[in-house]
Symmetry: C2
Subunit: 602 residues, 2 copies
């Protein structure tokens, strides 16, 4: 025992056996980054015949005159050249922005490999905040090698500061000048990449030669640019972890035969995570926010659908299942969105009056008449505590904290109520005729006794900082190589992109300004990179829509299992990506050559 | 895309690529089950010089006269012999009881392999209920081969019926006779194995020759018999899944640097799951129920400890972490246990009066005077909703639903309150002197502003029906071989056991009656197999206790990663088991020969 306890103490503060092993795993390196001898080197870039689809080209040209000048939103493609590897003496900084995603450390490793020993890589502590405060440190070969293939953003840290004010831009400029930066790489989501576009423009306008490059990160998968960038990094790892767990829950439901598991899945806006997990696990029900919005479904429509599925399964003797709910659902239900908008304006206008009213009842009496009849009716139909939360919890801007609404609990409570209705008035629900469920009196009698036992789960944080899958590990390393190459080529205002994950791999640079569109928020213009949502015409959604009724009718669940880093099934792409990109398979992706990264290369 | 959608449809209702691959994985088979040619065959059993430590031998001899006759609780050991493989024409039934655990399907595969083609294996549907109703079906080679190494109990189903009444025993007898059973294998936890002992005795007393064998299953790990049976099956898989997720959360906490994640871990009684996960991930705090009970800690002691850890980390600039809470904590806090006992008797005695009181306030006014001052004070200190739940939610016996108490929420609310106290009266907590935290006024000033952001999680169901780890897959297959061999040797009233997981593997049979002890519950005798709890003298607990202060002081977290079924780290034992069994390492366990199971063997 002393022997083993000693071993454990040696391990203290070091990596686990797993982490030590994954650091040795090879990575697929895109061929443009390999010389004839198969050694890593940065690539050069040339213009292609293809431009990104910019929705407001003129407006963007006004806002980003410098960075858009000349190239007309042209997509750049990498090609193999030894020129960039001759560039030396450059100083490049990298930062993480927003929530963690698997593969961040490999982005840095790729950057370091692209810059080589002749240039310097600096890390910015705590994201944009650190950039403003000038908290930079040099990244050594040893420190990044120790983190190769590991998860988390803990090497640099991250935060959500948005660089907006002139003062903030001033401070960024100071940091760039004080550290003599020739390049700045921002790893983040749509907001952070929009920010990158502004910083690139600002620095050029200030006559400072510093390449600003964005790297597409978000587990939600809503930062994607069609065939140019099928997905952002972190999505594959997160969805595989959620699929492992949901797969286990489907199997557990079918084993214990008494629970419905309601699983809320991370993703504030797009339902891409839910769609991927549904394709991987085949649950009884999976709600897709984009479909609910497009079909203008009401909260009751959704509840009715689920109650119908549960009831029809009961008639078959199945009293268990798994139901997937996307985190962002509420705001995609048109009537809820309207209610929240009305509430925000009412609560904004009468904030003090409402605050002064003693009881919730008083507040309700005050608010209801100020809402539209539909919204008042909807609000009255919500569970008491949800209503209370809508009225009392406000964010810093005085708005309803939509993200705080426990969507799955809201659904469960309304489903319970609806089920009790089915019990009280079976004739309303069973029998012949449109929308009615066909069942014999004996069947109805038989199922009326069964109780609805529910377990609810929220899967999110578990999937953000995991070790990257083999795909995310390779994808991110190549994104880092791409960003480093772009800096060495003196390009600025681009987002690094890797595509064609099957039989090849292709390296691109997308002009950030071309990805930005104008959105009207509360009456004023806001520049944003449009979120990539689930399209109901996409092959991935169609594959789901074609099969979901079978999955609802009876157990067809599937267990994809835990992420494997070794063995026959360690190279799977997200099903959504394989389907939407029209790949022949989702197994055995190929981004380039299998390559074991050596310390000489970092 | 059609190509891939077609592939997906083919996969409909079949296994995932992962499941197809794991079915091909080899299993370690204990050498006593292999003949000279390395083919699987059942083993024979002989008595050892060792008996199990029976606490009430005389009482057990009274209750189990038949099954205890002669052998004095002697442990049997398997030895290699071709005799049992000559036995043919036997009919054996197997059932699952209680919650799922990883490896159940491999128990059946092992049983089938032991019985060979000459005997018949039947599956009992829906656990003990199915045994009473006589719901049996024959298990074919194809059906079990398709489930080799897969998770879940869905092949047979399970339930929690306890076989108690004479009528139930009668029906079991009918099932045994009608199906001409020579053997009955019950896969379950402490209750189910106690049940197995009673059924064995009953059938023998009825003059029915049917071997009843128990198999130790429970993810909680609280069914264990020292060196004879270091652990029950399912524990390794469940703790590895929870460790993967907690490891990810520690990494996420250190990346996002703003959350404390409170993770409640399944385990109604023992904290063995929490202890293993703590050793694997090194969180800031891990509560061990057994320690809290033994040290007679109060709820406030626990809260004070956590607040102290959080505060001292803040002084170092660390404002994040992970805190592990065992599901069964509440009942191990002596003062809470007393309060619940008092509440149960008061609520029992005055049920109607209390029900008739209109408001919660009235009920409180009625109940408080009937409690001891200490309990009344404690109850008054609990959050309103928890108090309400204690008074209003009762189980079928009218008792407080302890399992429903949201322990982690209770802790979080009390911690928040305590933190606000620290803020209001810093002098009480900081400064010189015993128990005070040493900090400069500037430091105190600096941390007082920081808010406590909390995320709470419950990990349980995700870990019960997963694919078994390589250890659980081998362990369960050998337990099945053991049970099958015992039936063919005509032994009854034993629990199958495999031990010495390192460099060998040893196969035993433990007399069930000898494991049972008398417990007084509500004044009357109850026969139970004593739960195996965390011992504060155990090497595993000591290893935890030796290191936890370091883990509390600063981030020392560890990410064990997802379960690997291929590659260099796919053969790890639970750390707790390796430490307590004094193995030189927890990697590369060895139960026997690597063996790929063929259809001929099933």
């Amino acid at each position: 025992m002393q022997e083993l306890i000693a071993k454990l103490s040696q391990m203290e503060g070091t990596h686990s056996p797993f982490e030590n092993a994954v650091r040795e795993l090879p990575i697929q390196v895109c061929r443009v980054f390999l010389d004839e001898k198969g050694r890593i080197r940065p690539a050069a870039f040339r213009e292609t015949d293809c431009a990104v689809r910019c929705k407001n080209p003129e407006r963007m040209a006004e806002i980003f005159p410098k960075t858009t000048a000349g190239h007309g939103y042209c997509v750049l493609e990498a090609f193999s050249s030894e020129l960039p590897s001759k560039v030396t003496g450059k100083r490049v900084a990298v930062l993480f922005s927003g929530g963690p995603a698997a593969g961040g450390h490999n982005v840095i490793a790729g950057l370091k490999a692209a810059l080589g020993r002749g240039n310097t890589l600096l890390g910015v502590k705590q994201g944009p905040k650190g950039l403003i405060n000038g908290a930079l440190f040099e990244i050594t070969t040893e420190s990044i090698q120790a983190r190769l293939n590991t998860g988390g953003f803990d090497f640099l840290g991250t935060d959500r500061t948005k660089i907006k004010t002139p003062q903030q831009f001033e401070k960024v400029k100071d940091t760039v000048l004080r550290n003599k930066l020739d390049g700045l790489v921002i790893v983040g989501g749509d907001d952070s990449n929009t920010n990158a576009a502004y910083i690139a423009e600002y620095l050029e306008e200030q006559g400072i030669k510093c390449s600003v490059i964005g790297i597409p990160k978000t587990i939600d998968g809503d930062l994607a640019v069609g065939a140019h960038l099928p997905i952002s990094f972190g999505y594959d790892t997160a969805t595989k972890i959620y699929s492992e767990l949901v797969g286990n829950l489907t199997q557990d439901a079918a084993s214990a035969v008494k629970y419905y598991h309601f699983v809320k899945l991370m993703g504030r806006t797009a339902s891409k995570i839910t769609l991927e997990v549904a394709l991987q696990t085949r649950p009884a029900v999976a709600l897709i926010s984009e479909e609910i919005a497009e079909k203008n479904m009401s909260l009751d429509d959704i509840v009715d659908h689920i109650v119908r599925v549960i009831t029809e399964r009961r008639l078959k003797g199945i009293n268990h299942g798994v139901i997937l709910v996307p985190e962002g659902l509420i705001e995609f239900i048109p009537e809820m969105r309207t209610l929240i908008q009305e509430l925000n304006s009412v609560l904004g206008e009468y904030e003090k009056d409402i605050r002064d009213l003693p009881t919730l009842k008083n507040k309700q009496e005050f608010i209801y008449p100020l809402l539209s009849p539909q919204s008042a009716q909807l609000m009255a139909s919500l569970p008491e505590d949800i209503e209370e939360m809508l009225i009392l919890d406000r964010d810093d801007h005085g708005n309803v904290k939509v993200s705080q609404i426990e969507t799955e609990r809201l659904l469960i409570e309304k489903i319970r109520y609806k089920m009790s209705e089915v019990k009280r008035h079976p004739d309303k629900f069973f029998g012949q005729g449109p929308g009615k469920i066909n069942a014999t009196p004996e069947q109805i009698e038989k199922i009326q006794g069964t109780a609805l036992s529910v377990q609810s789960h929220f899967l999110g944080y578990e999937g953000r900082s995991a070790k990257p899958t083999s795909f995310d590990a390779s994808f991110t390393f190549n994104l880092g190589l791409t960003a480093g190459s772009l800096v060495l080529s003196g390009k600025s205002g681009y987002m690094a992109a890797v595509t064609e994950f099957y039989r090849g791999g292709k390296v691109l640079a997308l002009p950030l300004a071309g990805l930005i569109t104008v959105e009207m928020r509360k009456g004023k213009e806001e520049m944003v990179i449009e979120k990539s949502l689930v399209s109901l015409d996409s092959p991935a959604f169609k594959a789901f829509a074609q099969n979901r009724d079978k999955w609802a009718a009876e157990d067809r669940f599937n267990s994809p299992g835990p992420i494997q880093h070794w063995g026959p099934i360690s190279r799977q792409l997200p099903l959504c990506v394989a389907l939407d990109q029209d790949y022949p398979d989702f197994r055995d992706f190929e981004l380039g050559e299998e390559h074991r990264i050596t310390s000489e290369e970092l």
